[in-house]
Each structure stands twice: as C-alpha cells, then as structure tokens.
C-alpha cells in the first residue's frame, strides 16, 4: 500500500474523483498554477485543464456563492477557502445559502458542494488564518461537517464528501498536513460520515477530539499510559452527523471524559459533546466531564500560541484531576 501524508491523500482523492466524474470542478484562490498555498491541488490544473481547476478572483463569498450556482447547473464543485478563518468573508453564503438551498427550494435544488479549508494553529500563521470556528457552522443545521485527522480518513472522507448529495464543510488539520505518512489504499474507498473512530482503547477515561486535537489526545494517552492510566481516544471525524452512540458507550464504560478542542472554550463544540454525554450517560459518570480547550481570547501572537493551544500536558493534568475526584 502506498504511504501518503494528508496533503497527498487529499490530492489523491481529488485526482481520483475528477477522473471518475467529469462534473467535478475545483475552484478557489491559487488552486491552479500554484497548486494551492499548501500544494493540495498541485498538478491538477495541468491534468484536468483550466476549466476544471480554476483560480478565482480574491473574494470568498463569490467562491461559495458561485459554487452554489455551479451545482444548480449540474456541476459538482469542490471549493477551497484558503484558510478556514476567511470563511467569515463568505459566512452569509455558507449556512444561510449553501446550507439551506435544499430546504428553501423544498428539495428542488440539493447542493452537492464540498468546501475545503485548513484549520488550526501551531504553525505560527498570523491571526484569523488559524481560527478554529467549526462550532459556528454547526449552528447552521444543514451543513455536514467533516474533519479528518489522518491521511487514511482524509482520502476516504473527501471522496465521501464530494459524493454526498448535500453540502459538506471539509476542514483539514493544517498542523498535521505533512506530519508523517501513513498507509493509504491506492484504490477508491469512502469513510462514511457519522461514524467515530476509536483511535485507542483504554478503560479509565475517554478522551474525545476531532481534527488536530486527536493527535494531542494521543500524545496525552501515551503519557498517561506511562502513569498506568489507560485512556480511550475517540476521533469524532464528523460533527454533523454526530456519532452519539460511540461516545456514550465509551463514557458509560469509563465513567470519565475529557473533551479536547482547539477553539476557545466558551460555546465551542466541546460544550455540545458535554451536554449530550451528561444527558445520555448521566448515571455512569464518576466525575464531571471536563473540557480542555484554548482560552477565551483572540488568537494570540505567534510567540505565545503554544501556551494558548490545548497541549498533551494540559490534558494529562485534567485527567489526573478527574481520577482523584
């Protein structure tokens, strides 16, 4: 099996799907000749032509808005927003338009649109770029939200996203883009939405995360293992649909849970996980469910980001607290 990093896995999925389905069109800033600022679309324009891999003018709202129209006309657009933080420039076209077209047209216009964007800090990119704002999109309930954390999922979930009959916001973990290769099947496969991945199993505590925070939890779990604490790590993969079953079952068995995410604490999606778990696993809980998140401030200067982002150390500390509760 070939080995790929996340960038390569994404490029592989795009290549596969553009070959299979000629309705697929890639559009966004610098996706053509340059191959995207992270090279995820490298070589695609040469291969599929300028009509199918399009460098758009610098305007996020019309990237999303025109993708809506392209889908209505019969195409299958994969739009790239250069950094998730800049979806704010397109916010009115995201939830309210892209997310609602099927509903407001009473089914006449389903929109098979994928919006790709990298998210997250830890690479010293300037403010706005790294903003982890996934929860804002959950509050617009007609977008599916997928966040792979590894090369295998990146490929399989992107193929799933493009083929999904509904709009999918596909958020990529920028910090992990080139963080090592893993085995990824060369052939076509999809990873279904709404099915969490159990990255590691342990009986003492459940760690729930998505995107790059999964890797933080895995490092925390390793540290905990050296202290004799066995942690389960669950990678949600998609926030919408949410795999309640897997997390509830795990917490029923461990009795303790820490949710970890890169977004600031307040009103982050972690709150939703806690609310859901305490409702459905209430009688199994041995301690309150905890959250480890970034602090409630704007994204800090590059030199301070490592203190702001959730770290394995903070997760470990929090688990120790729960175990002594």
């Amino acid at each position: 099996m070939p080995e790929m990093n996340i960038i390569e896995a994404i490029r592989d999925a795009l290549t596969l799907e553009m070959t299979r389905d000629e309705r697929v069109i890639v559009l966004g800033l610098d996706v053509g000749r340059l191959g995207g600022v992270f090279r995820t679309t490298d070589g695609l324009q040469e291969r599929f032509g300028k009509d199918r891999v399009v460098d758009t003018p610098l305007a996020e709202a019309v990237i999303i808005g025109s993708a809506i129209g392209l889908a209505i006309s019969g195409m299958v657009p994969v739009a790239e927003i250069q950094f998730l933080g800049f979806t704010h420039q397109a916010f009115h076209q995201m939830g309210a338009q892209l997310g609602r077209f099927r509903y407001r047209s009473r089914g006449r216009f389903p929109l098979p649109v994928t919006v790709r964007a990298p998210m997250g800090g830890g690479t010293k990119t300037p403010e706005f770029h790294p903003d982890a704002i996934e929860a804002q999109f959950v509050q617009y309930p007609a977008l599916k939200i997928a966040l792979p954390s590894n090369p295998y999922d990146a490929k399989g979930m992107l193929l799933q996203a493009i083929r999904d009959p509904d709009p999918v916001l596909f958020i990529e973990p920028e910090r992990l883009y080139r963080k090592g290769r893993a085995e990824v099947p060369a052939e076509d496969y999809t990873v279904p939405f709404g099915k969490a991945r159990i990255a590691r199993e342990g009986k003492d505590v459940t760690l729930v995360a998505w995107s790059a925070a999964v890797e933080v939890c895995e490092r925390a779990a390793e540290q905990l293992a050296t202290e004799g604490v066995q942690a389960t790590v669950i990678d949600l993969r998609t926030l919408v649909p949410l795999d309640e079953e897997t997390i509830v079952k795990s917490v029923e068995s461990t009795g303790r849970c820490v949710v970890v995410h890169e977004a600031p604490l307040s009103a982050g999606f972690g709150a939703e996980i806690v609310a859901t778990l305490q409702e459905n696993a209430f009688y199994s809980l041995d301690a309150p469910i905890a959250r480890v998140a970034s602090y409630d401030t704007p994204y800090p200067p590059a030199s301070l980001e490592s203190h702001w982002l959730p770290s394995p150390e903070r997760v470990v500390r929090q688990v120790r607290k729960l175990l002594s509760a």
């Binding site: 392209l70 209505i72 009115h92 919408v240 649909p241």
Partner: protein, 344 residues
Amino acid sequence: MFQLLDPAGRLRNGAKPPLDDEFVLEGLRWMLLSRAIDARATALQRQGRLGVFSPVLGQEAAVVGSALALDPSRDWLVPQYRELPAMLMHGYPLHKHLLNLMGNPVEGRIPDDVLMLPTQVALAAQLPHAVGIAWGLKLQGKDGVVMTYFGEGASSEGDFHEACNLAGVVKAPVVFFLQNNNWAISTPRQLQSGAASLADRAAGYGMPGVQVDGNDLLAVNQVSREAVARARAGEGPSLIEAITYRMSFHNTTDNPSKYQDPAELEAARARDPIARVQAYLKGRGMWDEKREQEFEQAISEEIDAAVAKAQKAPVPNRSQIFDNVFAELTPRQAAQRRELLGEG
C-alpha cells in the same frame, strides 16, 4: 438614458420598435396581470389571508420588458423578490406563488421544468448564484443565459461586486438587471450611492453597462435582448440599470407617508409604465376600451382560479419541518422529529 417611447407613448424620433404589436400586447397583458395581482394580494393580506407582500406596482415595464427577452426553455431566472410577472412568464404557476405568501412553501415548490430559483430574502445573495449557474451552463456547452434581478439597494452589498467581477473574468452568460426604483425601504437613491449612474459600474468589471428608462417596455426589451444575445454569443455579462419608481409601499408592513414626498409620487404616476404602453398601442389601433375590458375580465378570472387553487392545497403539517434538510436525516434530527410527532 435609453428610451424608445416618450411618456405619452409616442415612438421617439427614428426609433424602431423591437417588438411587433402582438408581442407588445402580450407584454401589456403581463403588466396588467401583475398590477391586478398587486391589488388582490394586498387585499388578501389586509384580510390576514396572506403574509407580507411586496407589490411590483410602477415597475411592470422593467420586469416584463426584460423577461420577454428570455427563452424559458433554456434560460434561467434568478429573482430577488419584486419580479413576480417574470416568474409567471417563466412558467411558475401563480397559485404556487400565493402558497408561498400564505406560509405554505411546501406546495410552492418550483416545478422541475421551470428554470428558476426561489425568491431571495437575503439581498444580493442571489447574484453569485446567478453567476455560478451561467458559468456552469457555459462549461457544459449549453446555450442558456441567466437573467438575475436586484434592486439599487441590493447593489450596495459586497455580493454585487464579487458577482459582477467573477462574471467578467469567466465571461459568464449572465445579465445583471438592476431595478432602480429609487427606494430601498425608506432609503432614497441619492443616499444609496454617490454614483451619477449605477450602470457606470459595469466598466469596472469589463462588461457593458446601460441605463434605460425602466418605465418604457420597448426600450427595456431592446436592451435586454441585446444583453441576452451578447451572453448567448459567448461575449459575457452585461449590466442593465432600469430607472423606474416604486409607486407603492415597500411591502405591506410599510407606510411610505413617513418618508416620501407626495409630489414625487405624483410625478412618478405621470410616468406610469402601463399607461404608456396603452397609449402606444392605442396609437397603433391595437387597444381600446373593449379590449381593456376583455383583458381585465380574463385576468380577474385567472387570479380567482389561482386563489381558489391555492386555498385548496393541503395545509402544511408539522412533520414537514424535517423534510429536505438533508437527503437523509441525521440520527439526531430523526430523534427530534420523533419527539415533535410525539413518537419519541
């Protein structure tokens, strides 16, 4: 400002009508239908039988003249919300529109063979959609054109700029039809932009822009045909600014006496687009009182039938809240639906 008919309905020196008389008569019929619907819908709203309603009154020539340039079998219509006659001309049934206004969009679904988007509530958000459709048609080698409507108010939104600019780059076959009716709710045109002409904006996107007398059916039709032909020939987008006037309230919740100078409204009434076409056709022996009565009778019956049909449509039921959110409900949505239906 391009004009073919003067306000008295006389062809301007040397002007040649772009439409033959039968076609103008057809246009007039749509204009009269539109005005009759305005009256009926307003009455129904006052009786509490319809929700908020925005009349077309005063803008009939702009809407009908432009829509007459389209071929509903291949062209797309992307409306804002004040273009009802264009929607009907494109094949959308009137009773469905009434159902939308009654808060029953379930039954208002656009038929599969009508190439039209739903009306847009978020101003100017439809413009990028129109560009995307046009671009997609072009990429697929289809010869359809997209006509999209918006007000001079909406033209201040960023979406207008981004949409026009992208259209210029990809040479999308789209016509941006700006209805400048002098008002965005209570905000007058002169507070909306410092530009002398909004059509001047076209140059900044590399497309032709034209200002036309929006109360002149023939002139509107001519510039619209030219823009549609241009788009169809692969030459890209155009911007048309139709200068017209909103002769009624913004919508049924609005009271223009709070902000409108009555003299201005009087002056606008003197430029009534319907009277102008009637005068023109009268001059050509195509219009008289008898014909007017026949038209009015037929229109009234058409509206009666639509109202009756709308009233007979099934009332929406609460389970429909969960229809068409996604192709398939998520487990969480499915559970919520069960709760709503008391099955939970």
